[in-house]
Every structure is written in C-alpha cells, then in structure tokens.
Symmetry: C2
C-alpha cells in the first residue's frame, strides 16, 4: 500500500498547510456532496464547509500530525480512507490540543476530492 | 442522518462489548477483504485480524466511548463511516489510554460487515 500511504501523506501535508495559512483555499478540496462533521455538528457542501472552516474562532493555528494511516475504502474505486491523529496549536497556546480527523478521498481526474471529513478534539 | 447514527451506536455498542468480553467473537464482523491497521501495522482478512485481536497482550480491557460520529460513505451503497474516540482501561489501570478508531461498515443482507478498521492510541 505504498502508493496509498504516499497519497495520504501528500494530501494531509497540503490540507494542513492550507488550513494553517489560507483556510478559504480548502474549498477546492470539497464538492456539493461533501460532508464535514465538526465536533459533532454535521455540515454539507463545499460552500457550507468553507464557511464553517473560515469562521472558526482562532487567528493562528498549526496542525502537527502525529500518526497517519490509510486504507483503500472501496474495491471498485480507488478511494482512500485517511485517519490522522495529531496536535493543534491554537494562537500560540503552550498547551496543544489533541485531535483526530478522518477523510475519505475520492479520485477525480488526476486528483482527489474529500467526500467525508470528521474532526474531533480529544479531551483527556 | 438519524438512522446512520443509530446504526453506528448499535454497531459500536456490540463491537466494544464483544471486544471486552469475547474477542474471538469479533471474527464474524470481518470478511476476507477486511483490513485492520493496528497501531500502524496492516493486517488483512477475518482470520488474521482475529488472530491479532485475540493475541493482544492484555487480560482485561474496557472501552469507554467518548465521541461517536457517522457519515454515509458511498452515494451508491448504504455503507457507513464510523469514527470513535474514547478511553481504553487495560488490566484495571488507573490511567486510561485515549484511542481513536475508524470503521467502514458495508451492508450485507440485513446487517453490516467491517471493511476498514483503523485503531490508534493517542499519546499526549
């Protein structure tokens, strides 16, 4: 599964770099059918997801990926399930927050879009 | 998505109760094509997954689910992506471990099997 892991790494590098520097730029990764569940709140469509992500109440944010796992998610299509755990540093806080995030990536042309996105902070 | 959340709750209640009382009983939830990534190690097939789960080196284990999220994972099939975060109490340790786990459930007859399973402990 070397390819899948490489794609997952490339995707998450791009996703978190974009999230941390230009959140509005994430819109291109979602489609009308895309779903985000953010801390339990369900949101659908690229426009609504982008509105949610850009309105999150922090000025500065940095994702640090701790673990990254990927599996093929459909025998008929080259879609990929990606699971991330990591740390979120918000507004230079000295206490990073743990998070878990799941994506399902669907192939489209030579790239992928995000059909499923589930984000949770993990409180100890 | 009430139905999906109810199915996810029913599945995870059954899964963790079986894990905590009779790990070998989990084999029925997996198929030949099923994948488990356990702490980064990829394992495939119901038999290999069951062998891994039953050989984990703890005598007594208890899962406590903290968050549970579910989304439909395929427009063409009633499959479900389930993401769990929670606490794992191993051998009555006073310090529970945080974990994240992702499942993709695929409909089969009137029930579901697990195609994807990704488990990670979350270290702070």
């Amino acid at each position: 599964m070397a390819d899948i892991n490489a794609i997952a790494k490339q995707f998450t590098d791009f996703y978190y770099q974009t999230f941390d520097t230009n959140r509005a730029g994430l819109q291109n990764l979602y489609r009308e059918s895309s779903m985000l569940t953010w801390e339990g709140a369900p949101i659908q469509s690229a426009a609504a997801i982008t509105e949610k992500l850009t309105s999150l109440p922090f000025e500065k944010v940095q994702h640090k990926v701790t673990t990254l796992d990927a599996q093929p998610s459909n025998p008929a299509v080259a879609s990929i399930l990606v699971i991330v755990t990591g740390l979120l540093v918000v507004d230079d806080s000295p206490s990073p927050l743990q998070f878990s995030q799941a994506f399902q990536l669907i192939p489209e042309g030579s790239s992928y879009y995000v059909l499923n996105d589930i984000f949770r902070l993990n409180y100890g």
